[in-house]
């Protein structure tokens, strides 16, 4: 098995203590960046590594950093720690187990774009993690690893935490920035994107926790080493959050390109109670439902391959569904989530999610006809491509794929009589 890059705390006791983290080479990469590399060299190294955003979109990280407007100051780094996708629980483990590597990643990213302030936006439920991070940041300041004139240069950096308060939409980067500014967490019209117009209207890089936690290793070991892990276009390791009907749910850090089968059966211990696997959601509740046949199980988990089975890798939050589960119930769950979490800004998402929830509940309770399933599908397609952010889009992934690929489950729930009553 590949060595851990991110979940190193599983092999190194007390890695969340600064002295242990430093004994293991912690903050050498930050020192190297500041004392031996120009900001542009740091960005180019990250770009060359092929690192892509781990929050779901898979956008090349180094490339994002190059988009920062050099003529508008100050610059900001905002770490997205609003982890809220049902099925995703990786950033939480990083911040609890290996917090200093994450903070070092934030610091290197800040140096690369010459930000003097960085913020960590955590979901409100991570209250305890934020309190611990505040102490850890204070330790770094006491050790001279954050603060003014770092490593006797003129570079200075402060990092602050900021707690959200229970809104899935704030994981969307422009909604997150609005929220940080003290407004309702609703997405902005894009473009302009945050590297041009971000926090307080200033150039801002927003990166996911897992993405940033990769950065210290890329700087200390180099982009060639990083590229040797994973696939050609999806480099490095990824934390796969495995949940649902598996014997051993949990986080598994594996090279990108590992097949679903290896994750679910070798690491996850297979399906409990002698049941058969039926469907896979690869990107949490925002996923299409993949029919879990042999071809799907042999599909490598990377951004290029998962679309071959009609889905996206997203944040790699793999929810396993077995043959005891009817897909209309899955849709009932995801639609309750999305109708609750729609921020209300765009009508197709706000109204569409509400009505989809009502239709699916009618279907599930046996009070619907096949025409209601068609209506559900129709509403879903009317949301498609009509919203400012991806939430509307996410809400229909399971709906359209579920109806198309698991039609029998819906046929079993409807009757013509039901519709007349």
């Amino acid at each position: 098995m590949t060595e851990y890059i991110l979940l190193r705390h599983r092999n190194i006791p007390d890695l969340n203590h600064l002295d242990v983290y430093r004994q293991k080479g912690g903050f050498d990469a930050f020192r190297k960046a500041i004392t031996n590399m120009t900001p542009d060299e740091v960005t180019q190294e990250v770009k060359a590594s092929g690192l892509r955003g781990r929050g779901g979109a898979g956008f090349p990280t180094g490339l994002k950093w190059t988009f920062i407007d050099p003529n508008n100051w100050p610059h900001y780094v905002v770490a997205n720690a609003d982890e809220s996708e049902p099925g995703t629980f990786k950033d939480r483990e990083i911040m609890e187990g290996n917090p200093f590597q994450f903070l070092e990643g934030v610091a290197i990213a800040a140096y690369a774009i010459q930000a003097k302030e960085a913020y960590i936006y955590l979901r409100g439920e991570f209250w305890q993690i934020a309190a611990t991070l505040d102490q850890q940041i204070a330790e770094l300041e006491a050790e001279g690893l954050l603060g003014d004139n770092l490593f006797e240069t003129d570079y200075s950096l402060r990092i602050f935490t900021h707690l959200g308060a229970g809104a899935y939409i704030c994981g969307e980067e422009t909604a997150l920035l609005e929220s940080m500014e003290g407004k309702l967490g609703q997405p902005r019209l894009r473009p302009p994107f945050p590297p041009a117009y971000g926090l307080y209207g200033k150039p801002t890089v927003v990166n996911n926790v897992e993405t940033l936690t990769n950065v210290p290793f890329i700087i200390s070991r180099g982009s060639d080493w990083y590229r040797s892990i994973g696939t050609e276009k999806s480099t490095g390791t990824k934390i796969f959050s495995l949940s649902g009907k598996v014997n051993k749910p949990g986080n598994y850090e594996l090279p990108l390109g590992t097949p679903f089968r290896e994750l679910i059966y070798d690491h996850g211990g297979g399906i409990p109670d002698g049941r058969e696997i039926k469907a896979i959601m690869a990107a949490g509740a925002s996923s299409s439902l993949i029919i879990a046949n042999e071809q799907a199980l042999d599909t490598p988990m990377d951004w290029e391959s998962v679309p071959n089975v009609g889905a996206q890798l997203g944040s790699a939050s793999v929810i396993v569904i077995d043959d005891s589960v009817s897909i209309d119930w899955v849709l009932h769950k995801t639609l309750h989530f999305f109708s609750h979490e729609s921020c209300g800004k765009c009508t197709p998402c706000r109204e569409g999610a509400y009505w989809m929830r009502h239709i699916i509940d009618r279907i599930r309770e046996g009070e619907a006809a096949w025409s209601d399933v068609e209506l559900l599908n129709d509403v879903a397609h009317q949301i498609q491509g009509k919203c400012l952010c991806a939430l509307g889009e996410f809400s229909i992934e399971a709906v359209t794929s579920g109806i198309e690929r698991f039609e029998a489950d819906f046929r079993a729930k409807v009757s013509e009589i039901g519709a007349e009553e």
Binding site: G87, A167, Y168, E181, G182, S241, M281, C343
Partner: protein
């Protein structure tokens, strides 16, 4: 009066943001305001608005938008069970139903003694350790994972004891 009571905290919260962007402090100040009673009073809304040079209506809109802020009193202890898809696949719906049954309430209600409210909430990023819940109280937020109805009732008992005036 939170301005007097938490003067030091308020100052350190405001110091996190550029002076001309102090509106950013509205979320941390709301957490401060509901630390004691578990909800934000009208008086506190007005005070926060004054501190930040915004209107009380803007403060109220933030409370309304985000689920972790309250403008009405609830149980001192809010037990918030995630029953989203991954947790439900691990029995969270049954867990929630039985827990409420044992406490003699429906989901979303407060126990008769006013000590505990049980709510269903959206994903809490602990999908592999379901059934799970968080407890939101004046002390902050704590996670309880890999729970059974019995263990959850034990947690409730323990908290009720701590909460009782000695």
């Amino acid at each position: 009066m939170i301005a007097e009571k938490y003067a030091v905290e308020i100052e350190s919260i405001l110091a996190k943001y550029p002076p001309e962007q102090k509106k950013s402090a509205v979320m941390p100040l709301l957490y401060l305001a509901q630390r004691e009673g578990g909800y934000v009073t009208k008086q506190a809304m007005v005070e926060i608005a004054e501190i930040l040079d915004i209107t009380p209506t803007e403060v109220a809109s933030i409370i309304g938008f985000y689920t972790l802020y309250y403008d009405k009193p609830g149980g001192k202890i809010r037990i918030q069970v995630c029953n989203d898809l991954p947790c439900a696949l691990r029995g969270a719906d049954e867990f929630l139903e039985k827990l409420c049954e044992n406490l003699g309430i429906e989901v979303g209600e407060m126990t008769q003694d006013g000590s505990v409210t049980v709510e269903a909430v959206m994903c809490l990023a602990a999908c592999d350790k379901a059934p799970m819940f968080q407890v939101q109280s004046g002390e902050g937020i704590a996670y309880y994972e890999n729970q059974t109805v019995d263990s959850a009732l034990g947690v409730v008992e323990e908290m009720r004891k701590q909460d009782a005036p000695s």
